[in-house]
Amino acid sequence: MNEQPGFHTRREFIRRTVLGGALTWTVPGFLANTFAALQREAENGRRTATGRDSRILVVLQMAGGNDGINTLVPFASDHYRRARPRLALPESGVLRLNDDVALHAGLAGFKDLYDAGQLAILQGVGYPNPNRSHFRSTEIWQTAAEANKFEHYGWLGRYFDNTCAGADPTVGITVGRQMPQAFSAQNPCGVTVDNPRNYRFLPAKGAGKTQIAETEDSYRKLNTVEKESENSGGSIGAIAGAGPMAGSPLDFLERTALDAQVSSDRIRSLAAGGENHGDYPPSSLANSLKLLARLIGGGMTTRVYYVSQGGYDTHTNQLAAQERLLRDLGDSIRAFLADLRAQGNEERVLIMTFSEFGRRVAENASGGTDHGAAAPMFIAGGGALRAGLHGAYPSLAPADLFQGDIKYSTDFRAVYATILERWLRTGSEPILGRKFPLLDFLPASA
């Protein structure tokens, strides 16, 4: 970690304020947890899994339920053409990968990556007892829970809990206004950034210099830790009692306020400093990825980035809407990888797309498709990636469908497990609750 002035990480903050000097501050419950984790870490000699040269995972959510069948198109299938008299894509327009399947014409960006060996396509990914509700199914993907079990924390949140205790809050960054449930954790980690220029405490308009400095100073004090009374030698246990009740809204607010403070200077300067090299389309997804590229290029120690693209809930007039979305997706990711290549960071970054479900095999009466089940996932970038098609395309034969949907052949949690084990290099069992077979889109030695 580079040492610049200011507290860059929660850990550093504690070191300087608590461990560093005589104990003149007490810390609320959440910091005490972090503090305890630091001690454990020191005892075990374990290094927190962040670092400038570590691998990075970018999770890209295609929100709304992308129609996987018109994304990875079984263009040669009669069942496909029969089920979709109006929506089946003409054989002439699609981007063929082999004699059976092709990419949607809008995915020229993905076709380029595929040809360059930088795209793995996992076919028929889903889970048992698929749920067709956006929210429940999104929740299942975000928490990696069984379809009949409710899990509070997200799979990435559990990863943070397991391997990143005490880390910089910027270990996970979401671009957008809301933090995804995937980041929800026992000791929440991660920051949410929408517009990096405003990601700070801004001075009031028309205020004088002195007042600006004093206001900023007071803002910092109002949003840090409890000032201690007299027991400067107090044990950690006593310190933990000083803050608001652990888990209370005030405790949560206090922690978020501190995370905002320690991360804002850093993210802002990196976002403003870097340059993008890549042919990005003019879209909000591309803007999110441009920001990610600048943060990665600037040396952010973030391990997981989360971005999303919405609009895939195509119950009506699907053809035009999906074409626009997929073109944006493919072009944006191609540009992002080109940008990372120019930085020399391409090998460090793996992008994983997912959508809460695919869509029904049969089209509906409104020129669209209704909520379905399994769909393909795309994994891009990453030096170690085994590009190409993986798994089998689920059968579209009516007799093979379950309630009108294709059946999954790969459990999405096996994809998560593979990424955890072979990309993020951590045990997947404590995070996913059980063992899943690892897939070969990443080699064992990755």
Binding site: A63, R132, S133, H134, F135, R136, P169, T174, R177, Q178, M179, V191, T192, V193, D194, N198, Y199, R200, F201, L202, P203, A204, K205, G206, A207, G208, Q211, E214, T215, S218, Y219, K221, L222, N223, E226, K227, P244, S248, P249, L250, F252, L253, E254, T256, A257, D259, A260, S263, S264, H315, T316, N364, A365, S366, D370, H371, Q403
Partner: protein, 477 residues
Amino acid sequence: MLRQLPSNRWTYELAAHLLNRAGFGGAPREIEELRALGLEGAVARLVDDEQLPDPTPDPDWAARDPGRLERLRQVRQAGPEERRRLQREERERQRDRMIELRGWWLGRMASGPRPLREKLTLFWHGHFATSIEKVREARLMWRQNDLFRRLGMGRWEELLIEAGKDPAMLIWLDQARSRKEHPNENFAREVMELFALGEGHYTEKDITEGARALTGWAYDGVAQEFVERPNWHDRGVKMILGKSGNFNGEEFLGLVIAQPQAARFITGKLWNYFAGAPPSASLNAALAETFRQAGNHFRPLLRTLFLSEEFYAPDVVRAQVKSPVQWLVGSVRVLERPLPPPPTCYALTRNLGQDLFAPPNVKGWDGGLSWITTNNLLSRYNEAATLVQGARAAREPDRGRAARWLGGVEPERLFTEAERQNGAALSEALQRRLLQGRLRPKNEAVLLEFIGLGKPDEARILAAIRLVMSTPEYQLT
């Protein structure tokens, strides 16, 4: 069973709590007024709100839009280039109306005579979570909003049926295009999952059968009205929630509401909205029982809720994260300043993560802690400066007008001469007005240090107001 709060426990802080939750808070004088009415009087003032006249006029395009059919005709007859121009004009017209509509509703919340009515309308908006992103017509969004305002305190079954037949809803959940050959399941699914029962209290089969019952509910796009199309309706026998019959849409919704789970579901959600956390199982059962005894009417339920001891429990008071709308409306009320112009309000609430008439998805806003991210929290602190110290206003819809300077607050309206002369007195008054409670001691010390013990100048008073609003404490209500 719910017990009423003993009247001797009624205080300024609890009156503030009631006004914050059943409305959008208010200045000390308004809280004092409610306190003086006593608990029952204060609750009656909010719940029996038809006694207060509400003269707010509707937007002038809301009830009728006589030029619409002519505009549609022009679009149809125009050549390609002219059509694109007309369509762009229409998009801009709708966008400007939406900004006006949001300002209109926020105005009702901030200064209308019926705060609970507006708070409940906001609940129903989040509950039925219909978005302009798909509906695309401001007038229909206004109409749904008006429906929630008219029926929101009434009977559940009537509200649900009317919400189902509401044009914006018919478009939003695709019921408008559902017919017996291809029933669209969207509305039937959300009725079960999000509107009335909750996950786990129905089967996939109930959804497909419910969707069949609803076929024939359609939308007349020319008249912009609900229409029943008998030829689209599936007259066959359906099996829904264990009952079989030749059900139509209204009967389907009636069956859903008759489930015991329906009363638990909606009363639990209302409690969560007003009290800030889900009720315990026993409290939820008591709320559901109250609701059933009241014939599934909301008004008596709300009265019982706001009178109950549970609603004033220490872990309920000042423990709810303000929604962005609550933050904005509550702030202008305690700051006794007007709402910023509609375009600024629109930009501000979006920036804080709540875009009225455009909830993120059919589940509405998650609320609670999810309002708070590092980004949104910093935005709140910065928007506090906009409200207190002024800023450049966002552009007006007619883009010709120059940007305006948006005024801040006037300290002499908020604080007495004595309070403005003395740092300690000012700190007390700031907390009483802005928090109706106290900062934690450590933050109180920071505030006092900033103000100083002598007489602060006006700029410092304004900065102190902004600082109180830039604390974790201020984000709670």
